[in-house]
Amino acid sequence: MTALALRLKRSGHIPVLAAAGCTVVLLLVGSMYSQNFLSADYLLLQLQIASFLGIIATGAMLVILLGGIDLSVPWLVTVGGVMSAAAAGWWGATGEAVAIPFGIACGALLGAVNGFGVAYLRVPSMIFTLGINAVAQGLIVVQTGGFAPQDRSTPAMHLIATGRSLLGIPNALLVWAVVGGATLFLLHRTTLGRSIYAVGNRERAAYLSGVDTRRVVLMCFVIAGACSAAAGVLLTGYSTKAYQAMGDAYLLPAIAAVVLGGTNILGGRGSYLGTVVGVILITLLQSILSVMQIPEMGRQIIYGIVIITMLLVYGRGRRHSD
């Protein structure tokens, strides 16, 4: 028994298991309130909603693994949504065809600027992404205020975000599954993935081992930008409209999901599986709090306390004496 406990501790899967345990407990608490919480319909709907957060958290996780943080999530999400809808308006039928890739490319471009600032100009990620967030906000204000572009989503975006084309599984969930699969492959089967962990542990050592660490950082931010924008495209499809500040509600949950899933906020350690569990946990928590009709005030307080409590249970740092 102790051997098993020791192996578990070494494997680093304890946070994932703890988060999964909390998720089950949440569902059980919810089911005492209403039987609906255990129905397949409800769970699939939650997974569909979780997909948006899941895709954002994927990008956020890559950046956190590097030991950085991406504060430009809110407006990169908006860039993805607004630009994809605008492309459909500008270029008619061709526009509709390229709307989704165009929106994602805009996010990736801003992500590349993030990466350039952090990797090559050596500005701390927390402050540079903050600046890019402000610039993205400015661009969107000029764009929507000055040119009044189309803000309706295209039918394709609507289908991907809300449709259930395959065996009743939400398409958004499938998109997240593809993104997640690609991320797992990236992290565990490519040199880039291994380099990400290496840079997160100690950039200097990674550089001395011959890793082009600046390119690794740049790539991560490009992917993170693309992920945020992709979530923006999906959100636009989901609500049939792109609007300003549509991404504001996603920054804190994305970081919280990554950290609750056991990724070290200082970088270098963490598994994608943990992030998936963290995303589902956060989504369920939000859903249950709103179904129980707890006022906004209580929701915020419980939300914050739950995050702190869970981290106190399994996310504590080392003592100085260790």
Partner: protein, 327 residues
Amino acid sequence: MNDDWKFHLREHKGAYAAAAMFVVIFALYILNHQAGWTAPVITTAANKGVLLAIVAMAQTLPVLTAGIDLSVGMVFVLANCVASHLVVGTPLQAAFGVVAVLAVGALCGWINGAIIVYGRLQPIITTLATGTVYYGISLGLRPVPGGDVHAGLADALTGSLPGGIPAMGVVLVGVVLLVWVPYRRSVSGRAALAIGSSEAAAYMSGVNIGRTKLIAYTLAGLLAAIGGLLLTFVTYSGEASSTIGGVYTLNSIAAVVIGGTSLAGGAGTAIGSVFGALVLRTIGDLLFVFDLEPLWQPLFQGFILLAAVSLGSLQLLKVSNRLDLFK
């Protein structure tokens, strides 16, 4: 003596640069303002600038210990909401209210510090989560904007003294002299810088890490509450707005960086952050006097913020060994 000066200059390069930047930008602003250098213009500018300056001071203390406080904006909002309930009535009641508001802020900061020190959690995620809790409490206190504040006190603090000196500016200088200067000269202030430079080395040298961090976060909460209190005097009401909280948190970080404090900790001063905050605020006003199309203002502000925080990368030109780039 000469060497002392050189050391002082090198140590506070960032703060002096921010101060110089502020003087230039503010001169530009005054020269292009229709009314020019008159008491109302200066007072309005001070009322806006001092709020962010005090929140930026609050942010500096955790940053010096290589931490960060993402809840300063929310403590600021919470103090605003508490003040709109308590700082009313007779002068005695109002005075009690002021003390209560400051105590609430210090308590919020202490809770942050306690979770970080005793709970051994990372500051960034701890304060992100406690910030949500503080915002929730503010919402409970002020579901809709409203409330009131002691009018005499508010008018006195937001007006101007004889000679056109803005009262807010005096408050700012008072806070710097009463909170920052004694703190910086105390054992705790020195220990905070030591922790920021190298926590392990500070621990080995017998620095009381826990107490130092607790004091830094508690003072940060207290300063943020002073900011929130002043906000109440400016707006005469309380509002639980997550936008205000978020904007102040993010701008405070930017102000700290512009003021020459390293986000990695161990170097910098709160006075630099004060000038950083004043620079940020004046830039916003500058766009206004130059009659720039309002539509383009957020974009320009974004670019200026980005440029200001990227200034530090000029240091890269001096790097002779590429290994120095990677810490």
